[in-house]
Symmetry: C2
Subunit: 342 residues, 2 copies
């Protein structure tokens, strides 16, 4: 029954510091929070006592009384996909830079109930605010359930949403990609799209179509895929059988890689026979053969904007405050996978 050897002496609290410094615990609290009305001499004594005891303030207790945890929750899908991961990483960095800790509620899938539950879990932890990375329609519905007074920012949600949203201008990126192929002299551009339900997919289709229409080009049917390399490969096999398909805009670099592999296997060269443009600028993009022309979204900028927007809500500016931020515009990165038709 005497159990663990070594006294189970718990970590020192404010009272311990106070006793050692010969003041009341409240004075210790004041020193801790930088309250002005403390004599310099006292402050030093308290600081010394803290040092000596190795005192660390208990954030949990503080959170209980203030109701503010200084933790920002991130809701994201549990995936290693490049895009979402990059956004997440960038958001974490920005959140930390703003002096907040991060709590993660990663969900297996982005359906309504999973997201609602994830937000609930974060709420139970009394997070100060939430960043939701959920660029799919099903996620958007869940967002209606969240209490109005919870500071929140959505990344990559419904572009039709009016507030608390930060996005990349997917449509503009898609236009860039398509125009680049058109400018190389192609009559039209085929499109391998991402999965249904993703705003990224839908917006990229829209941008592609717009660019085609603007140029008076024919609009071929969309080849629907998901985000996997395999799906790109399958779409590529289809494309390889159509000699008229000479230019392809793939909705992601992974899809583009799949397409190129299928094309290569079918004996069609890139960019000789077929030009290809991707989207995301994954690190590998410049190292496949041929190096892939693609569109680069600025994830860091998105994250910064999101955190800034969240912070403004925490500062108590009206919840429906800043009407709508301009989406972050991506840039075209030209490499060697585009050539004129021959």
């Amino acid at each position: 029954m005497d159990g663990a050897r070594g006294a189970p002496r718990r970590t020192p609290g404010m009272t311990d510091v106070a006793r050692l410094a010969g003041v009341s615990h409240q004075t210790v609290s004041r020193v801790l929070n930088g309250h002005p009305n403390v004599k310099e001499q006292t402050r030093l004594r308290v600081r010394a006592a803290m040092e000596q005891l190795g005192y660390r303030p208990n954030r949990v207790a503080r959170t209980l009384v203030t109701g503010q945890s200084h933790v920002v929750g991130i809701v994201a899908q549990n995936t290693a996909l490049y895009g979402p991961t990059s956004v997440r990483t960038a958001v974490e960095r920005s959140v930390n830079a703003a002096g907040f800790a991060v709590g993660v509620a990663s969900v297996p899938a982005l359906d309504r109930s999973s997201i609602a539950e994830a937000i609930g879990r974060l709420l139970d932890q009394r997070v100060a605010g939430v960043v939701v990375i959920a660029p799919v329609t099903s996620a958007n519905e869940a967002l209606d359930d969240v209490p109005d007074d919870l500071p929140m920012v959505v990344i990559g949600g419904d572009p039709g949403r009016l507030s608390r949203l930060v996005t990349i201008d997917q449509r503009h990126g898609a236009r860039l990609a398509t125009r680049c192929l058109l400018a190389a002299g192609h009559d039209t551009v085929w499109h391998v799209s991402g999965p249904a339900g993703w705003y990224d997919s839908a917006e990229r289709v829209l941008g592609w179509r717009e660019a085609l229409l603007d140029a008076g080009a024919e609009v071929p049917p969309v080849l629907a895929a998901d985000w996997s390399l395999d799906a790109g490969y399958e779409a590529g096999q289809l494309l390889a059988r159509m000699p008229s398909a000479r230019a392809v805009f793939a909705a992601s670099d992974h899809l583009a890689m799949g397409v190129m592999k299928a094309l290569r296997q079918a004996g069609r060269s890139v960019p000789g026979d077929v030009s290809v443009v991707g989207f995301d600028d994954i690190p590998e993009a410049g190292y496949v053969c041929p190096p892939l022309t693609t569109v680069r979204p600025d994830f860091a900028a998105v994250a910064e904007q999101a955190v800034r927007l969240l912070l403004s809500q925490l500062d108590g500016s009206p919840p429906d405050g800043p009407p709508r931020l301009a989406p972050v515009v991506p840039a075209l990165v030209e490499r060697d996978s585009v050539a004129p038709p021959r």
Copy 2:
């Protein structure tokens, strides 16, 4: 001054539920924690009251009194690199599956003070335990500073460490890769290594050398790089100038891709002139040209082992308990980047 419309009615607490159900707060607590000695009828009344008020237990308060937060902290570098990200994702999944929430302390760099500080931040949040993903020597030092009684698991740390460590058998993976090239008929195998300070780098070098020595093959000098594609490219340029280099084991798929690009540019074909094997099995590996033979670590298995190990510490089994787990063994994935010399 009347500020927000709508009474700032705070979220209901146990007392509110108790009042509505006509019991004491303690009974509510008992219902919440599934304590046996509660009459079925009472239990139902309390449940109904909770439902009606939309009651959610305050985890913060619970943590304060129990000292247990049911949050597992993850310390990891803030990066989107495939390996670390995959591990992290897998760990989050396992932690969630075990019924814990996750708090992340991502650090900009894996140096000693950053890690110590990150752990400190997590400690302040009273995390139940910590998973440190830090496969570098500088991180290992920081681990000596952590209090003995904090449940902790290190992923990818010093293989010499005796306990609380989960690793991938990097050395075995490297042997697999090297032997595969040797088995194809090559006299020897060159190695492009990861950056100094990473256990992954060091272990892979060791495994490579072992396999060479076992086969009685000559051991060429190591070409040191970091994890970037670019570094692989540079190493590849070197290799391309050495006609005798016919087989290369790159310490990661990214490095392999860089090497292959340089080789291709120099007019040397893979695997015709030079065979290449990578490490990691990134999703793109099967889609580069030629599809890359590589070594696949089982990240999910590592994560599960880590969480199991952590949980066993939480359950109060002795801190220095299970001596040492066997490292997770990776598997060779054969594709088309290896061929006999000609």
